[in-house]
């Protein structure tokens, strides 16, 4: 592309999407032969990850031996050529066939997300480190007074035997904190770890955009020469009924996140959006910057709108955690809050003396 080289992938359940965009400045040399593709000088090709990943697998040996790497795409031949010019004059050339080209973009307007966080590079990595590697899903909760991350477990029957981990952060820990709607979003942690370690290694802050449960959450980093984003589907509130539901709601698909709102990922010609007005190309460069938002979204206290969102959000918390939360809530305040959290997110560690109830 004229804007650079974009590498995108989506998982088979279509619940996780990643895109890394390297601007031409990232490279020592970047040239696009304009007599190639039909539409606006964009070449698209699709490679099997298992073809290209092994070439870059052994990072230490690459660092030690490779002096220069050249990637060329030749559309007429259907080939991508990756050449490594190594020490001692050795050259390694890999010609990979590409599969039929198709565009891959997730329709997600990050600048329309009500909730935005920007965390320093290591913050999220340090938090995520506390969750066991086997932990599949975590829940990110945001309220005006705190942000928390906790593990998510379906199947409430065994909840007494699972270890719960929760970390809360004060808004001041973030470089940027904007809350439009209080929400809990639950997503797959595994797919995020790669981006977080990338961010840490490049010392880039991570921006998080999300809304109510069920809407996707995005994690992105950017600097002068590259932008990277991972968009993950979040669980919809399918188990408001209680413990008996989870088995059906999060059924037999290999990834539980598949039951979540499937990301509208598809051909860029079709606009497959949910309630986003237009198809947005996620990497629309810094112009669709998350920093721009309408004043109406700057809600620091839940209001009437926030109420329904909070309801929805409450329902998505796993029965177990809402039980625990509501127990603590009862302990803190003398009020009898019901299981539905009385339209208020269970706030654990705040000075809720029952005053600001609505």
């Amino acid at each position: 592309m004229g804007r650079g080289l974009a590498l995108r992938s989506v998982n088979s359940a279509r619940s996780a999407y990643a895109c890394f965009l390297f601007s031409p400045l990232f490279f020592q040399h970047y040239s696009l032969d304009s007599v190639s593709e039909q539409d606006s000088e964009t070449i698209r090709c699709q490679l099997l990850i298992k073809s290209i990943l092994p070439l870059f697998r052994c990072l230490t040996s690459i660092e030690r031996n490779v002096e220069r790497c050249q990637i060329s795409i030749s559309s007429p031949n259907g080939r991508v050529m990756v050449q490594f010019f190594c020490r001692h004059g050795i050259t390694k050339t890999h010609n990979l066939c590409f599969l039929e080209s198709e565009a891959l973009q997730a329709a997600f307007a990050s600048h329309l997300c009500p909730n935005v966080l920007k965390a320093p590079a290591r913050l999220l990595g340090d938090i995520v480190m506390h969750f066991p590697v086997s932990q599949e899903e975590i829940t990110l909760s945001m309220s005006p007074l705190r942000v928390s991350l906790r593990n998510y477990n379906e199947g409430g029957n065994d909840h007494v035997r699972i270890m719960y981990t929760e970390m809360s952060l004060h808004p001041d820990e973030f470089d940027y904190f904007q809350i439009g709607v209080e929400s809990d979003v639950t997503f797959c942690l595994k797919e995020l770890r790669g981006l977080l370690s990338f961010a840490e290694s490049h010392c880039l802050p991570v921006s998080v955009h999300f809304g109510a449960a069920g809407k996707p959450v995005s994690f992105s980093v950017e600097d002068m020469v590259l932008e990277a984003i991972v968009v993950l589907a979040t669980l919809i509130d399918s188990e408001s009924k209680g413990l008996s539901q989870p088995a059906e709601a999060l059924a037999v698909t290999p990834s539980r996140c598949a039951e979540a709102a499937v990301l509208p990922v598809g051909e860029c010609n079709r606009s497959q959006t949910q309630d986003v007005p237009a198809v947005m190309e996620m990497i629309a460069s810094s112009q669709g910057s998350p920093m721009i938002h309408t004043p109406a979204l700057m809600l620091l206290l839940p209001q009437a709108d926030g109420l329904s969102a909070a309801d929805e959000a409450c329902a998505t918390t796993s029965p177990a955690s809402s039980t625990i939360c509501s127990l603590l809530f009862r302990a803190v305040s003398s009020q009898q809050a019901d299981g539905g959290c009385a339209a208020r997110l269970p706030v654990l560690a705040c000075c809720s003396d029952g005053e600001e109830e609505d």
Partner: protein, 279 residues
């Protein structure tokens, strides 16, 4: 040492006696050619040659000169037998193959001749084990008729550079193609796998290239499955010579230094795959 207290009378019966203070000097080399169960041993006054073959298309030889052994006595011009190489290696490592410094297994290998088992006396830390391995009629190793006069192309490379290439080779490729030429690309290894092809080029003036003597451009393909075992020898070696002759037969010779810094050789011969046009 217990091994040397064996009676002289016993020694008279043996046609071959070979002793090593460190059995690893033998077992390490043998590991480099263990891709089949059986090995043909041939001992001459010059030393020991161990041969392993695969389907008459691949042959690996390990040479351990007489000088490597602390004792090497042979009563005939040539002593040959065949044994199960896996069993032999298990015996050589019978004390567990410890890598603690200063601890090594001493070996005394004795053979009485045709029809007798191969007897191994192994000692470590005062404990002696005697192993007797049945021998078989030695088969005649295939003579690839590879002589230096027919060699069209020869290069000697430092193993370091080839080790990486071989570890990265695309295993979905059925063949490994070797191109040697007095002109570009000089020395090239190519694979043709499921996702595409790959080429590893070594120019003739590379630091890794110790000798480059190519007279004509040749491209030959060899079955990957046959050459795969040679990576074990490559891993042990510090230098490798690659030669092809006019028929396209491949000879790989590996220079291996053992624990004591002595030099041994391992050699692989491979037949080319059916004639193909250059890609």
């Amino acid at each position: 040492m217990p091994l040397s207290t064996q009676s002289q009378a016993d020694d008279e019966q043996y046609v071959l006696v070979a002793s090593l203070d460190n059995a690893r000097n033998l077992s390490n080399i043998l590991k480099a050619i263990t891709f089949k169960d059986h090995a043909i041993f041939n001992a001459t006054p010059n030393g020991l040659k161990v041969t392993v073959e695969d389907s008459k298309c691949l042959q690996a030889n390990a040479f351990i000169q007489a000088e490597i052994f602390q004792e090497f006595t042979i009563k005939e011009d040539s002593v040959g037998f065949q044994v199960n190489l896996t069993v032999l290696l298990d015996c050589l490592n019978i004390f567990g193959g410890s890598t603690a410094p200063g601890v090594s297994t001493a070996l005394r290998m004795c053979y009485k001749g045709y029809g007798h088992p191969l007897t191994l006396f192994l000692e470590e830390g005062g404990v002696v084990t005697v192993c007797k391995i049945n021998t078989q009629e030695p088969e005649e190793p295939v003579d690839f008729d590879f002589c230096s006069t027919n060699v069209t192309n020869k290069v000697i490379l430092q193993s370091e550079s080839l080790k990486e290439a071989f570890s990265e080779l695309d295993m979905t490729s059925e063949v490994l193609q070797i191109t040697m030429s007095p002109s570009q690309p000089y020395f090239r290894l190519s694979t043709f796998g499921n996702s595409g092809n790959a080429h590893y080029d070594y120019p003739k003036d590379s630091d890794m290239m110790e000798l480059f003597r190519c007279t004509k451009t040749q491209t030959n393909r060899y079955k990957m499955s046959l050459l795969k075992p040679s990576t074990k020898a490559l891993a042990l070696s510090c230098k490798v010579s690659v030669r092809t002759d006019s028929r396209g037969f491949l000879s790989l010779q590996y220079l291996v230094r053992n624990d004591d810094g002595q030099i041994c050789f391992v050699e692989y011969f491979c037949c080319p795959d059916e004639d193909v046009e250059e890609e």
